[in-house]
């Protein structure tokens, strides 16, 4: 392949040759011949040495799973396994478009001797959750004069799974450390008398009570049999239903309804695990993409993060399939928090709620309102503004109807925007804790 520089030489050669022919001048012809021959003379030798099959590229990364916003070091080693040197080799290691190159450079250009290797590294910041691939690596070899080149793309890719951002959790922890009592503070554990270790009070003995619970000293004082009561620690079981239908992906890439729903699910799971509650997560659209049953295993958080990382806004919302799956898997009474934009037909939603209530679960709908997440009205012209407002009103009316229908059965629908999505989810969790909804 001839480079741009090579084409300039061709042009100059042809210009001199044609000038020589036109003006019957051997000097110009000779110079033209020099240039043209100079361009091609080393081409066979270059083709012989530029056997890019002798180049091996090895990419190493610190970790294969990381949080959105985390940094990762990528080490690239280029080995020349052939018996020939490469005069000028350029290696470009590609990384996902949305990521940011934080430190270093993702390419190198140098000369490489036979049997030797060179290593370079760079630091990237992973942005936006999902499954990403580092690579492929583009290797370009040029001749000494830069007139010819060969290109090879090494397709080895390194898979990296980027979890949703952890910044909300970090922020919450930071606020907690500063004792700025935020929304999550003031939660109270549901107090239920029963088996436990914290003393709750006394009551009169009734037949059937265990003898070991009798407080003999107090009984002697009162002259009547009295037993000690203990506070039973009750925890709530929550299942977060994250709708990943196509409409949830509308808006700016990092500010879609789905992204907020995922951030909310991460925050809720973290809070639940901190307080010994159990939180499960289901990601669904027209099928169940992933379901992690409520649990408190040490790696439960990572299982949740994994299914949330891979959620993509596609398909439509099949609430009935999702709830059928969850109800089948989870028999215990749970508080089911739906995070959906309610942009599907209401009948399947009501059917899903019917199934849910029939199985003894409680439900709450946290619904991101589309227009609040999409283009700000301020950016529109007058006509677009009016149209946007009309659409917005219609959508609002529609969801109000759904909310009214659901409220008959004690299911609340909370409309949220980007600002109050996370506070609302925290508040809902606190209320559930305080009211003892779906305790186990």
């Amino acid at each position: 392949m001839i480079t741009q520089r090579g084409f300039v030489v061709v042009f100059a050669g042809v210009l001199l040759l044609t000038s020589g022919f036109s003006f019957v001048n051997f000097y110009l012809v000779l110079l033209g011949v020099y240039l043209v021959i100079g361009l091609v003379v080393t081409l066979p030798l270059f083709a012989l040495t530029a056997n890019l099959a002798g180049i091996e590229v090895d990419r190493q990364i610190d970790k294969v799973k990381l949080f959105s916003g985390d940094f990762i070091r990528v080490r690239v080693t280029i080995r020349n396994t052939s018996r020939r040197h490469f005069d000028f080799i350029e290696v470009h290691d590609q990384y996902p478009e949305t990521w940011i190159l934080a430190i270093g450079e993702n390419f190198i250009a140098s000369r490489i001797e036979p049997g030797s290797s060179m290593t370079f590294s760079y630091i990237l910041q992973a942005r936006m959750r999902g499954r990403y691939y580092l690579g492929p690596t583009e290797v370009i070899m040029r001749d000494r004069l830069g007139l010819h080149f060969y290109k090879r793309i090494l397709k080895e890719q390194t898979e990296v799974l980027v979890y949703p951002t952890w910044k909300d959790v970090r922020r919450m922890d930071a606020l907690g450390k500063q004792r700025q009592l935020g929304l999550m503070f003031g939660a109270h554990r549901t107090k239920t008398v029963g088996m436990g270790s914290d003393f709750a009070g006394f009551r009169e003995y009734s037949p059937g009570d265990e003898f070991r619970l009798i407080d003999w000293k107090v009984s002697a004082k009162r002259g009547d049999m009295v037993i000690r009561q203990y506070e039973m620690e009750k925890n709530v079981q929550i299942i977060v239903m994250v709708d990943s239908s196509g409409s949830m992906g509308n808006g700016y890439p990092e500010n879609t309804k789905l992204e907020y729903a995922i951030r909310a699910a991460v925050l809720l799971t973290h809070m639940g695990l901190e307080r010994k509650d159990i939180v499960g997560t289901c990601v669904f659209s027209d099928m169940v993409h992933g379901y992690i049953p409520p649990g408190a295993r040490p790696n439960h958080m990572y299982s949740v993060l994994e299914i949330l990382a891979m959620a993509e806004p596609t398909g439509w919302s099949d609430y009935e399939t999702a709830i059928a799956h969850v109800v089948q898997q989870s028999k215990k009474r749970s508080l089911i928090i739906w995070m959906t934009d309610l942009e599907e037909s209401p009948a399947p939603l009501l059917n899903a709620m019917k199934t849910l209530v029939a199985n003894g679960h409680k439900a709450l709908v946290i619904s991101p309102f589309g227009p609040w997440f999409e283009a700000p009205v301020g950016q529109f012209g007058p006509v677009e503004k009016v149209l946007a407002e009309a659409v917005s009103e219609e959508l609002w009316e529609r969801r109000n109807k759904i909310a009214r229908a659901l409220s008959r059965f004690g299911i609340n629908v909370i409309n949220v925007g980007p600002e109050d999505f996370l506070p609302v989810i925290i508040r809902a969790y606190e209320e559930a804790k305080q009211r003892g909804v779906a305790t186990f």
């Binding site: 110079l31 056997n51 250009a109 290593t119 059917n351 229908a405 008959r408």
Partner: protein, 444 residues
């Protein structure tokens, strides 16, 4: 090269140093004639339209005297004072115009020689400072452009006519020396640029890393100072510390500056910068090789080897090119190789420059063909395949399988539900609370 061109073309005696001045003056003379004709046309038109008469002759004569004769000293031969007659003016105008155009044609070439020489020398100086191919190529073409234009003007230019049959005689011809020097200039410059550029990326990398780390350190310190409540200019920070040297920090700073109203956004920007600093510090503490890898120091080639190989490479290329070119251009070799009849051997066509094409085209095409064959063979080894380990392949397969199963199950469940609903609708006439709610809310 420039001197040789000057020296070889000096026999034409066209290096008149006033050429640029003459050219500029001629251009202005032509312009003044054009202004004169435009002005008279416009004034005539206006006079005709508004006064209904012809433009006074005095005005035309006056204009000619002022714009042409007095300003540019274009007095016709034999006329000493200003013009007084309009007929004289038009005759003089025509003569002047023809003279100026002819002078301009001559001067343009003269001017071009100087212009190309100037541009060539300027580009040569640029190529020394910047070490870029475009300047080298530009300088070469500019200087050779002088010869091409001189050849076009049928001046005495360097030539090798008749083409010498002896290689030594060929090497020692003055035109050949110019050609060799010109080609050697290109070759050596390109080789020098290679030597320079092969080590440059590693140097640049080291420099960039230094700047990035310094900018990061300073940005973190400023952030700390801001948090401590000290007064620090944020915009000053980005400019003075070179923090804009890399995109990450630039973006972080932009988020900090732009998002002043959003406190959380600020927190993120600050935390990103600080976290990067912590990450980098940790890397430097745990891995001693990290700096060398980030700068790719080990990748820098040995300078002595590069210089040595540059000299030998240039010499081999140079000799090969000269030898092949001599063979291609020698009519004697051509006729011997082709075993041509005597009539053709003595024909005048054989001594024309175009005869070069007879060998040049096939030989020139032969080299890329050989290269193509070689690369075709070697490329067979470079058939790229997605390289996945067995586990990765299994995982991908499993994922796809699982996805398909879920989809199947969902479809099946949907169908079952629809069937049951149909059956229930047929069996039951009673509507439950949920259906009522749905109906009441949505069906009016």
């Amino acid at each position: 090269m420039a001197y040789l061109v000057y020296f070889l073309l000096d026999v034409n005696d066209f290096w008149h140093w006033e050429a640029p001045y003459t050219f500029v003056v001629t251009v202005f003379r032509l312009l003044s004639l054009l202004v004169f004709i435009l002005t008279t046309t416009m004034i005539s038109g206006l006079v005709g339209a508004f006064a209904g008469g012809a433009m006074p002759s005095d005005l035309i004569v006056g204009l000619y005297n002022t714009l042409v004769l007095r300003t540019w000293y274009m007095q016709p031969y034999g006329v000493s004072g200003p013009m007084i007659n309009v007929t004289e003016v038009w005759v003089s105008f025509q003569t002047n115009l023809m003279e100026v155009l002819s002078a301009l044609w001559d001067n343009t070439f003269l001017f071009l020689y100087f212009l190309l020489a100037g541009v060539g020398i300027a580009l040569f100086l640029q190529s020394i400072i910047r070490m870029e191919h475009k300047f080298v190529g530009g300088a070469f073409l500019s200087i050779q452009g002088i010869v091409i234009i001189a050849a076009f003007r049928s001046l005495i230019v360097p030539d090798l006519n008749p083409f010498p049959p002896d290689f030594m005689a060929f090497l020692l011809m003055s035109a050949q020396i110019l050609a060799l020097v010109s080609f050697a200039y290109l070759e050596v410059s390109y080789q020098m640029i290679y030597s320079y550029s092969v080590g440059k990326p590693v140097e640049d990398r080291e420099e960039t890393l230094k700047k990035q780390l310094l900018a990061l350190r300073q940005a973190t310190r400023k952030q700390d100072a801001i948090e401590r409540g000290e007064k620090v200019s944020i915009t000053g920070m980005s400019r003075t510390t070179g923090a804009t040297a890399f995109s990450f920090l630039r973006e972080a700073i932009e988020r900090k500056v732009v998002g002043t109203q959003d406190a959380l956004e600020n927190l993120d920007a600050i935390s990103d910068v600080r976290r990067l600093q912590i990450y980098v510090d940790e890397l430097f503490n745990t891995d001693s090789k990290v700096k060398d890898e980030l700068t790719a120091k080990a990748a820098a080639p040995s300078s002595s080897y590069v210089i040595g190989s540059t000299i030998t490479g240039s010499a081999i290329r140079f000799l090969t090119v000269v030898s092949i070119s001599f063979i291609l251009m020698s009519p004697g070799i051509v006729s011997t190789l082709l075993n041509l009849p005597v009539g053709i051997q003595g024909s005048v066509e054989l001594f024309q420059p175009e005869i070069v094409l007879l060998f040049l085209v096939p030989v020139v095409l032969l080299f890329p063909f050989i290269a193509m064959v070689i690369s075709w063979f070697s490329r067979r080894e470079v058939i790229e395949k997605e390289k996945l380990t067995k586990e990765e392949k299994e995982a991908v397969k499993e994922r796809k399988k699982d996805q398909a199963r879920r989809k199947r199950e969902a479809d099946k469940a949907r169908k079952n539900r629809a069937k049951e609903r149909k059956k229930r609708d047929a069996d039951e006439t009673e509507v439950d609370d949920w259906d009522k709610a749905l109906e009441e809310t949505f069906k009016r």
